[in-house]
């Protein structure tokens, strides 16, 4: 616990000194949202219907940037190796990193919502519930994403590898998050949101525990 707190403080310091990075990813996500609308054309009815899908695609694409960058500072001067040798608990390092990524992606997702409303004329009847779904979905992206970022960061052509490994894995997150978001925005006559949120929670629980267990093996050598 004490190690987790220390690692979290380290993440906080890292992030608070790299606000430009967060801003750049936000601009990237916004650009993606803008570009998606050109694929459909100025048909508001259609745009409103697929806005949830576009929001999550923009978030997924931006997440690879956030995740790929998250181990940049750890690799300089072999900082990660030094922490392992301290010895710091790998699980604490992993959970701190994953929590930091989660917080960033949640902020990013919430920041993209107003833009989506403006560009696609989307309705927002329950903004707080939407924030909750964004938090659940980004939790599902950041748990495996952080683990894979730790691996691919040390491999060649990491920009290609991370999405290649991560995207097939997060299909359930994408499906459940898009479904829940569209039910929130377009109405939920059969009250199905609960089951989609449950699917997200299940995915999150499995991946947050499994990836935490396996992270030690990834960094230990």
């Amino acid at each position: 616990m004490k190690q987790l707190a220390a690692a979290l403080y380290k993440e906080w310091l890292l992030q608070s000194r790299a606000l430009a990075q967060l801003l750049a990813v936000l601009v990237f996500g916004a650009t993606a949202l803008l570009l998606f609308s050109f694929a459909v054309g100025p048909n508001y009815e259609l745009l409103r219907a697929i806005a949830p899908g576009f929001l999550w695609l923009a978030l997924l694409l931006s997440s690879t940037l956030t995740l790929a960058e998250s181990f940049q500072a750890e690799m300089e001067h072999r900082a990660l190796e030094g922490q392992i040798l301290l010895p710091a608990n790998p699980a604490a390092l992993y959970y701190a990193k994953a929590l930091a990524n989660w917080a960033q992606l949640t902020l990013l997702g919430i920041a993209l919502v107003p833009l989506m409303v403006a560009l696609y004329d989307a309705q927002l009847p329950r903004p707080l519930a939407l924030a909750g779904i964004i938090a659940l979905g980004t939790a599902g992206l950041s748990a495996p994403g952080t683990l894979y970022a730790a691996m691919t960061h040390q491999a060649r052509s990491r920009q290609t590898l991370l999405p290649l490994l991560l995207f097939p894995l997060v299909v359930p997150v994408l499906i459940a998050a898009v479904k829940a978001t569209s039910l929130l925005m377009l109405g939920d006559p059969m009250s199905q949101i609960g089951s989609w949120a449950l699917l997200l929670i299940t995915f999150d629980a499995i991946h947050w525990s499994l990836c935490g267990l396996l992270f030690g093996r990834v960094v230990e050598d």
Partner: protein, 230 residues
Amino acid sequence: MAVSDRLNPGAGYALMVVGALLLAVGSYIGLFVAPSESYMGDVYRILYVHVPTAWNALLAFTFAFGSAVAFLIRGDFKWDARHEAGAEMGVVLAGLLCCQGSIWAKPTWGVWWDWDPRLTTTAVMFFAFVGILALRRFVEDPVKRATWSAVATIIAYVDVPIVYFSVRWWNSLHQMQSSPETVSAPFLIPLRTNAFGILFLMAGLITLRTRLARMRLAQEMAPPLPEVAS
């Protein structure tokens, strides 16, 4: 040298010959002896290879998963070689599965692809394992390569049931999982023969591929040649 001596390729070739023979017999019965199906006519005959391919693809991925777990526990590189062979075999079979399915779906359903849970899950599994094979190509250090790909295989394999359920819910308006129909004997014989044929073929290929992987590993990990004393 020692590794290639210990791993005789004979067993692999023998398994492949048996598999090819069974597959030939099963396909002959399936194509020429078994009666036509009353609704689909002759199109259904592709199922005699399609269904066995599906079973064996799942088996290959399960073998890769088991080998990955064994490698992480034991740290023995023979499990890494088996993991690599199983994952590659699974990718080949899953790729074949998607192609066969499309060939069957076009005349039957009218489309090449359907977002049915089993199809989509197979495609996701295919891409997940292609990613893992790519990871193996991009990591030079054998220890890291083995550990990371084992970790990735475990996560991908655990993910499969969640993918299946999510696609099933997502697609709930479409067809639900069909219950296994009672299949009459003339249909069953070629199906089983082909299933064992592909199983033996796969086992032979995995054996040979494991041998190749072990030889490569032995070469990679061999100490550099000693300098000639002057």
